[in-house]
């Protein structure tokens, strides 16, 4: 047995050392836009005694690019302010989330950002944090608590409506009936249910649109591929896809395997509306595979979260209790517009821009939290 184990372990060790050695000199290739802005937060995260404000971030899971980039944005913002932010993981488990929030309370953080496991789970813990003087700001999913400082979201119900309207406009423009596969993400998450409801509020009753609901992917790629492959193979009448969450790589591979990944304009093209605008989906827009993307930007949501916490905790000023930003539709010609998180892959956090106030005004959202500054 030693004849196998020792060489094996030696090989693994050598390989690990080789990789550890060869990866340190990476020089990221920096895409050209958008330009980093000046640091409006400078000094904001430092207390009068010279110590930094301490913030915590508690997302529902870590295994998803969308959450990863949201956390990256928070890190970028708080560290520019001179504050610190610690990352925790609820691992899609409400009990873990509750225990984490209790630990945060015991460790006397100055404020928390939370993307809760579901609407109901974190409410009591947030009440308890508030009583202990620790304000909580949520993003994407709104917890049920009267003591939440602020909730920030690109409105998910409206995102569903934007998607539905895209398909309604399509059938009206072309006269072509659509049989749409609605690719569910999670049936247990409030945000997904709201996207679903928003979508159906627009398409239901349209005589040219039929919707077939799928089993949930739970945000995983392999089920997305399997479901799309199975259903598009079995039902040749399916000619459109509404993918409510970020499984682009999965469902396009599923379409490819049944020869339905066809460019816009070519016969047999599957009309696709998807969210939230991950790098792969933006690339697919450029490649003419996806017709349109509904923005559900982790950047926008986390920008508002950081501004709410910095304004309230560091400046001591009140903030609105809700920030529901109307989502936008990104078409093939819009992929290079600024502040799309899907374009930021590979740019170091330190070079990420802080979203300016003008951006929200340009999107017709006037009730935004202004950029705080000393």
């Amino acid at each position: 047995m030693k004849k196998i184990v020792i060489p094996l372990l030696a090989l693994v060790t050598v390989v690990s050392i080789i990789f550890a050695g060869c990866t340190q000199s990476a020089t990221p290739s920096v895409p050209s836009e958008p330009e980093p802005v000046l640091n409006p937060y400078e000094g904001l995260g430092i207390k009068t005694d010279g110590t930094p404000y301490r913030f915590a971030h508690v997302p529902l899971f870590l295994y998803n690019e969308w959450v990863a980039m949201g956390h990256g944005y928070l890190m970028s913002a708080f560290e520019r302010a001179g504050a610190t932010i610690d990352l925790f993981n609820s691992n899609l488990d409400a009990a873990v989330e509750m225990a984490t929030l209790q630990d945060i309370q015991a460790n006397e953080y100055d404020g928390i950002a939370i993307l809760p496991v579901d609407s109901a789970s974190a409410g009591a813990s947030i009440d308890s944090l508030w009583a202990a003087g620790i304000p909580a700001v949520s993003w994407d999913y709104k917890p049920a608590s009267d003591n939440l400082l602020c909730h920030c979201e690109e409105d998910q119900y409206l995102l569903g409506q934007v998607g539905g309207q895209f398909f309604v406009d399509y059938v009206e423009r072309t006269g072509e009936p659509l049989k749409i596969l609605e690719l569910w993400a999670s049936m247990a998450q409030d945000g997904c249910i709201r996207r679903h409801n928003g979508f159906h509020s627009v398409v239901d009753g349209n005589p040219l649109i039929t919707v077939v609901e799928s089993a949930p992917t739970n945000h995983a790629l392999e089920p997305a591929q399997t479901i799309v492959l199975d259903q598009f193979s079995a039902d040749p009448e399916l000619n459109a896809l509404w993918a409510m969450a970020d499984t682009y790589e999965g469902y396009t591979q599923g379409l490819a395997f049944c020869d339905r990944r066809i460019r816009i304009g070519d016969p047999g093209h599957v009309v696709i509306f998807t969210g939230p605008g991950e790098p792969g989906a933006l690339q697919a827009l450029r490649d003419g595979i996806v017709d349109a993307v509904g923005s559900m930007s982790c950047w926008v949501e986390c920008d508002l979260v950081s501004k709410a916490l910095l304004t309230y905790v560091c400046l001591g000023e009140d903030v609105p209790s809700e920030q529901f930003v109307p989502p936008i539709m990104i078409g093939p010609d819009d992929t290079e517009q600024p502040y799309l998180y899907g374009n930021m892959r590979g740019i170091p956090f330190d070079d990420w821009p802080i979203i300016p106030d003008e951006y929200y005004e340009s999107r017709g959202f006037s009730d935004y939290i202004p950029t705080p500054s000393k």
Binding site: L221, P223, G250, G280, G346
Partner: protein, 338 residues
């Protein structure tokens, strides 16, 4: 002999014949598969039994099938491996990081320049073997319960996968991967060919080698096996290595099918593989079960999944149906064994 006696003898013969048919572990599974296929075909108006759909179903089954064969080796020794899913994902993430050609590194696990394709695949398999050996050492030498050590390793691998990818989805992978995920040979999808090849090799190992018979003996009665001169720790160790290797191989096929690596690529692979093994008639107590049974079990679960997708069954009922099928299959198996 009176007429009544003759009738009684005939009736007994028929009963014995039926019992003999159902006595073969895999016959009943094949019957279940045929019944399920027929039911699905009726309800889907034949859409589930087209050539294209059968290939789709087998294609979608391939990743889980390969992992299930690995799980079979471990369960035959009365063990269990809950790290299969974590290991497949970790191998997928590393494979993605090592073969991606686009963008700047997302973590220190990603080399500046992508590795040669063959080397990357080789290292993925080594990772699988290495972590299989990790489980094997703890189970065979340190007598740590397999449930505990493999669960712990699964947690470690989840952390490593996040550390490696930082939560990002890795794409722009080496084009050669496409052949292993999307390619066809003689009309047959490559992942299915890999699955069949693994099954054939595993069948040969389990039924025609001393090692295979030792795996059954070890699971059936480890003490007797040891007293008979079998090197039980080595057999346990080797079984976990095989399971680790096949987990990495299923991760490779997953990577090739997705042409993307994500720590969120697949969920519950370990439980799916255990379910396939159990539905396949393998005893969780070890020592009993066949590879053909596991292949049939995998296909049964795949067919159900596929059929419900094809028929667009209300998603709320899909999990219920799958759970009921597993209970029915296991119950039938238990009754049959009495």
């Amino acid at each position: 002999m009176t007429k009544a006696t003759e009738q009684a003898v005939d009736s007994k013969k028929v009963r014995n014949r039926v019992r003999r048919i159902f006595g073969y572990e895999n016959t009943i599974l094949a019957i279940i598969l045929i019944v399920i296929t027929a039911v699905l075909a009726i309800f889907s108006k034949g859409r589930t039994v087209t050539r294209a759909n059968i290939f789709n179903m087998l294609l979608n089954t391939s990743v889980r099938g390969i992992a299930s064969i690995g799980q079979l080796f471990v369960i035959l020794t009365a063990g269990i491996d809950l790290s299969v899913g974590g290991l497949a994902i970790f191998a997928t993430c590393l494979g993605g990081l090592w073969t991606t050609t686009g963008g700047s590194p997302v973590s220190a696990w990603q080399p500046v320049n992508s590795l040669p394709f063959g080397l990357a695949v080789f290292l993925m398999m080594i990772i699988g073997i290495g972590f299989g050996a990790f489980n094997g050492v703890f189970v065979s030498r340190l007598r740590v319960p397999p449930l505990i050590i493999t669960l712990a390793l699964s947690q470690i691998l989840a952390g490593l996968s996040y550390n490696a990818t930082q939560g990002y989805t890795i794409f722009n992978l080496h084009p050669a991967l496409n052949f292993f995920g999307m390619g066809r040979v003689g009309g047959m999808p490559v992942p299915v060919i890999v699955f069949v090849a693994v099954a054939v090799v595993a069948y040969f190992v389990l039924h025609y080698t001393t090692f295979g018979r030792s795996v059954y003996a070890t699971g059936g009665n480890p003490v007797s096996s040891w007293l008979s001169g079998l090197n039980v720790p080595r057999i346990l160790f080797s079984s976990y290595i095989i399971c680790g290797f096949l987990a990495a191989l299923s991760g490779f096929i997953l990577l090739a099918r997705m042409m993307a690596a994500s720590m969120n690529a697949i969920k519950g692979l370990e439980l799916d593989s255990i379910a396939a093994v159990v539905v396949g008639g393998v005893s969780l107590a070890g020592g009993r079960g066949t590879l053909v049974g596991v292949v049939l079990g995998t296909i049964i679960l795949g067919a159900i999944n596929n059929g419900m997708n094809v028929m667009a069954v209300n998603p709320a009922y899909q999990d219920i149906v799958k759970g009921v099928i597993i209970i029915v299959a296991v119950t039938i198996d238990m009754i049959r064994r009495r």
